[in-house]
Every structure is written in C-alpha cells, then in structure tokens.
Amino acid sequence: MFRVTRRYEFAASHRLDAAALSEEENRRLYGKCNNPYGHGHNYAIEVSVRGPLDDSSGRAVDTARLDDLVAREVLRPFHQRNLNTEIAAFAARVPTSENLAAEIGRRLKAAWNSEFPGRWPELERIRIAETARNIFEIGADEIE
C-alpha cells in the first residue's frame, strides 16, 4: 500500500469573525485575523491518497486525474477569492483553516467517484499550511 501526496497552492482572503460573539470578543479571540477589511494567505494544501500499486502503470494513483479533481473542486473556486463572501460554505461558518480543511475534504469526497470510480485509490488526508508556521491536518474519516 502506498500513500501518494500532492501539493497545491492557492491565494485567498478571509476574515475570522464568529457571528455568535460580540465585536469585543471577536477582537480578543481572533486578534489581527478579525480586521474588518480581511487579509490573505498563500495557502499550500497537501492531498494524500492511499492505494495499492496498479501493475500496468506502476503507480498507485493517476496524478493527472487527481490534479484535475483538485483544480476543479478547490483551486479554481478558491484561488484569488474572498472566502467569506464568495464561497457559500463560509457564509455561516468562520473560514478558519480547520473549517477550510474540512470543506476541501467534503468537496473532494463528494466528487471523488467522478474521477476514481473504483475501490482504490481512496482519499486519506488533507493538510493545509496557512503560513509556513501554521499547519492543519484532517483525516478523510473525520470528514462528514
């Protein structure tokens, strides 16, 4: 069994502001990330896929298909966007990197069979580096 990991990047802006909290509480909780005008990151995401070796190709995943899937479901919709105002999932949910990782996972899981209809390969985990110092990881089995 192999784990194949592919790394992608997109740039997007966001603002962390929880609707259930007061202005003062949001400022205290999120600090600079609560700036009302928003701010942006160069997000780096790693998509890890698990599967056995295909005897004919000598590969565990067709990376061109994975690239197509990620481009269609994640990179094209998210790149150079404001996550809060342009991505429906973040209309009512704070676009923290935790929530972003889960949303990316949901999108890939929902469209998975269109590119990979067989038993393998399966999605294993999503990893997001918001900056080089803040990294978030979610396993496919944790995604609803």
């Binding site: 069994m1 192999f2 784990r3 194949v4 990991t5 592919r6 790394r7 992608y8 056995p52 070796l53 005897d55 004919s56 190709s57 000598g58 590969r59 565990a60 067709d62 990376t63 061109a64």
Partner: protein, 141 residues
C-alpha cells in the same frame, strides 16, 4: 521512536510501459513518457523505528545509517539514467512508487537487524509530489 534521515540523488528516467502503445503511454504518463528521458532531484527520507538503547541512548548508530544510505542508495542511483543503469528499472517502470519500493527492498535487511526496524520510505520526486511506502505489500520490483 522514529528516526528519519534524508538523502538526495539526481537521476533521469522515462515512465513508459513496453506492453502499452506509444499513445497509451502518453495518455497514462503525459510528459514523463518522453522517450529521451528527463530528470529530478530526488529527496528520500528513511525512517527507522526502535527504542533507545539503555546504555547508548540511541535507537541505532547514525554513522552506520548514513553509511548504509550512501552505499545502498546514493551510490547506485546518483547521476544515473534509472531505466538503463539501475536494476530493476530495466523491466519495472521507475515511477515514484516503484522507486520507494526498490529503496525499501535495498535497505530492509541492513536496517531491520537488531533493535531497530525500517518504518517507512518517503520519496519526493519534486517538492509537490511525494510517496510514502511502509512495506505493507510486496512490490512489483
């Protein structure tokens, strides 16, 4: 406890399965099927698992690990055309997966003697693509 050591080598390869047509190979491997070959700076992380020895405080002698990696991997792989110069890639397509497998096969007997055990081999073909292999299933190499 896991100990990971990193090595690098530069090599060229072609991803082409002789049982498939030129067109099928191009569809499957894309530019990597170019018959003239192309190269990468491969980065390999080898992780060894074990419990630190009560006397030495070490899982294994890192000098020895360094020597094994250099002798078994870097020497045969570095600055080579894998398909032509490094077995089994005269008959096995040198995908990142198969390279991870071959590295496991070359290292396992040298690193899994005594208290330590080979845990995983990670091969970066580029900074944007890497493969982890844990020795779970015998590879086609």
């Amino acid at each position: 406890m896991l100990i990971t050591r990193k090595i690098e080598f530069s090599a060229s390869h072609v991803c082409r399965n002789p049982r498939l047509s030129d067109e099928e190979n191009r569809a499957l491997y894309g530019m990597a099927a170019n018959p003239h070959g192309h190269g990468h700076n491969y980065v390999v992380e080898v992780s060894v698992e074990g419990i630190p020895d009560a006397v030495t405080g070490m899982v294994l002698d890192l000098k020895e690990l360094k020597a094994v990696l250099s002798r078994e991997i870097v020497e045969p792989y570095d600055h080579r055309f894998l398909n032509h110069e490094v077995a089994p890639f005269d008959r096995v397509v040198p995908t990142t997966e198969n390279i991870a497998c071959d590295i496991w096969r070359r290292l396992d007997s040298h690193l899994s003697n005594g208290a330590a055990r080979l845990h995983s081999v990670r091969v970066y073909e580029t900074a944007d693509l890497y493969v982890d292999y844990f020795g779970e299933q015998p590879c086609s190499a």
